[in-house]
């Protein structure tokens, strides 16, 4: 089995819930985020649009970060998850350089000033550091909440369905834009999504074969766009123009 994730860009509403959930789940140091949101604007013939891409480690099947690691600290599990053994990492940052997606972060002292810089650690912080002892001077990244997956499998739970066996970002996503499951199972939710909605991997040209796929009306073709009736107020960012978006938000406004 190979774990993977599908991110439905027509549903993502840029709430940063996944970013926050990941930070809390892993007690991430103050200036580290494993999940990031990229936003960019496009202007196609006067039609302005904003698109956001939630990004995290792609757990590539041909991971350059694993290949370049000089100590074997970065390695790939049988289920495809790329993990870092912090005790082996020497902090050379070759993996940070080699990652085409820039989803690895070197945990330097300035990125870990404590949750309340200048104050003693809270009990929450102390507990967090015991649970997730992120080591300064090493590299960190998203691990698809591997510990939750392992726990779930050991306890007979279904990964991607049961909350205790599903990554925190997927559990938290209120727009249900994230789907997690087994890429090797052709009948799994994500395999079907990838086929039906023409899932796209980032930077396919590099041959890294990421386990994170994106589906979007614009990427997969116009046919794949979510019907307007299915959109909530949160989804209007993906309407085709700023003007249309403004009309949705302020239907009675004279400025429209």
């Amino acid at each position: 089995m190979k774990w993977g994730m599908v991110i439905d860009l027509t549903k993502c509403m840029r709430c940063h819930g996944c970013v926050a959930a990941c930070r809390v789940e892993h007690f991430l140091p103050l200036r580290i985020t494993w999940v990031k949101l990229i936003a960019y604007e496009t202007d196609e013939g006067g039609v302005l649009d904003v698109t956001t891409f939630p990004v995290r480690c792609n757990q590539c099947k041909e991971a350059p970060c694993v290949d370049v690691c000089p100590t074997g600290a970065s390695k790939q599990r049988a289920d495809g998850i790329v993990e870092i053994e912090a005790d082996k990492c020497i902090g050379c940052r070759y993996c940070v350089i080699a990652c085409p997606y820039q989803n690895r972060t070197f945990l330097s002292k300035d990125k870990d000033p404590g949750y309340f810089p200048g104050y003693p650690q809270t009990r929450f912080e102390i507990k967090g550091k015991k649970l997730y002892p992120h080591q300064r001077g090493t590299t960190t990244k998203c691990n698809f909440c591997a510990e939750k997956i392992d726990y779930g499998l050991a306890n007979g739970l279904t990964v991607g369905i049961d909350r205790d066996a599903t990554p925190a970002c997927v559990n938290t996503c209120q727009a249900r834009a994230l789907t997690f499951g087994d890429l090797d199972d052709p009948n799994s939710n994500i395999s079907r999504l990838i086929v039906e909605r023409k899932g796209l991997q980032l930077q396919q040209i590099l041959g890294t074969d990421p386990s994170v796929y994106y589906v979007d009306g614009k990427i997969g073709g116009k046919d794949n766009k979510a019907p307007e009736s299915a959109m909530t107020g949160s989804h209007i960012q993906h309407l085709s123009s700023v003007e249309a978006r403004a009309k949705k938000v302020f239907p009675g406004s004279k400025k429209n």
Binding site: L37, D67, P70, I90, I97, F106, S108
Partner: protein
């Protein structure tokens, strides 16, 4: 306030071509230094080996062991774990150029030290008559092996970078060749400096070799840039940054003027004069060494990632 909140807000990071910073900014300066000393040490050792100049070989060995390695060491986030990268033929060794490089450098340091000792003993007749054939054989074996590992030490730095597919400007087989040839030219310049202090160096022969090395370098760098500009839009963007962007001053003044034009001019002038001017020679050595620093700075500085969002089609 905006800067402090930056890591939790939505941003346009990696949408446009984004330059790598880990190996050139902040603590990354140590990597730049280590890269430069790799080339200088390798070049000086190999040139000295060819010219049989013991002091040059010693200086090359010192540059690698006392400058390159410490800069690498202090760059590491967990320096005292450095030994984990050295064992050869592990799984990591099969694919990681840093692991290979650590091994090459360590082996070079050991072999070259033995070679320096045997050469010194033979040169100063400090070996008993009966042992001379054996020590001579050992000396030659060490020269061949140390020279080979010196070359590997110089070339692996190029492969470390050229392996990165994400940075198209680096991702070419020409990069290790550029680094090695530039390193040899650096070695030719430094051996003149060594010769000025210790004597016993044929300056005329070195000047001729230096001219060719510099001309080959100029051709290689031009080929590299032309090749990169055809490779992809991101690599072309890197070239533009190099010739008229943020690295332009370092490139034109450091690499082209000081690294190639000034030493080449001084070298060509030497054709027309019988006596070598020590002042001009020192100027050439300093100028060339600045060029070596500038070359590595430029290559690291314009290491720009391919943007990750495929919907920005031009890259």
């Amino acid at each position: 306030m905006q800067a402090r909140r930056q890591w939790i807000t939505t941003h346009e990071w990696m949408v446009q071509p984004t330059a790598q910073t880990e190996w050139i900014e902040g603590q990354g300066i140590l990597i730049w230094m280590a890269e430069v000393f790799s080339a200088l040490g390798m070049g000086l050792y190999l040139v000295s080996l060819f010219l049989n100049n013991w002091w040059g070989m010693l200086a090359g060995w010192f540059i690698i062991v006392l400058l390159k390695l410490p800069f690498h060491f202090f760059y590491l986030g967990r320096p005292w774990r450095f030994w984990r990268a050295i064992p050869p033929f592990t799984n990591a060794w099969k694919t990681s150029w840093i692991a290979r490089g650590m091994f090459f450098t360590s082996v070079f340091a050991g072999l070259a030290m033995i070679q320096l000792i045997t050469t010194y003993l033979l040169d100063h007749n400090m070996v008993a008559e009966s042992l001379v054939p054996g020590v001579l054989l050992l000396d030659w074996a060490m020269r061949i092996l140390a020279g080979f590992f010196a070359l590997l030490t110089g070339i692996y730095c190029g492969f470390v970078m050229s392996y990165c597919k994400a940075i198209p400007f680096w991702n070419t087989g020409l990069l290790p060749i550029v680094f090695v040839i530039m390193g040899l030219a650096d070695g030719l310049a430094l051996i003149m400096g060594v010769g000025l202090i210790t004597g016993g160096v044929d300056f005329h022969a070195i000047e001729v070799a230096s001219q060719w090395a510099l001309i080959i370098n100029a051709i290689l760098i031009t080929t590299y840039l032309i090749n990169a500009s055809y490779q992809s839009a991101t690599a072309e963007y890197s070239v533009m940054q190099l010739i008229m962007g943020k690295a332009a001053k370092a490139f034109w003044i450091g690499v082209i003027l000081l690294g190639i034009a000034v030493p080449l001019t001084i070298s060509l002038l030497s054709i027309f004069v019988l006596e070598f001017s020590p002042v001009l020679m020192i100027l050439a050595v300093i100028s060339h060494t600045i060029g070596a620093f500038a070359l590595k700075y430029c290559v690291l500085k314009v290491g720009i990632y391919r943007p990750i969002i495929s919907r920005v089609p031009v890259y």
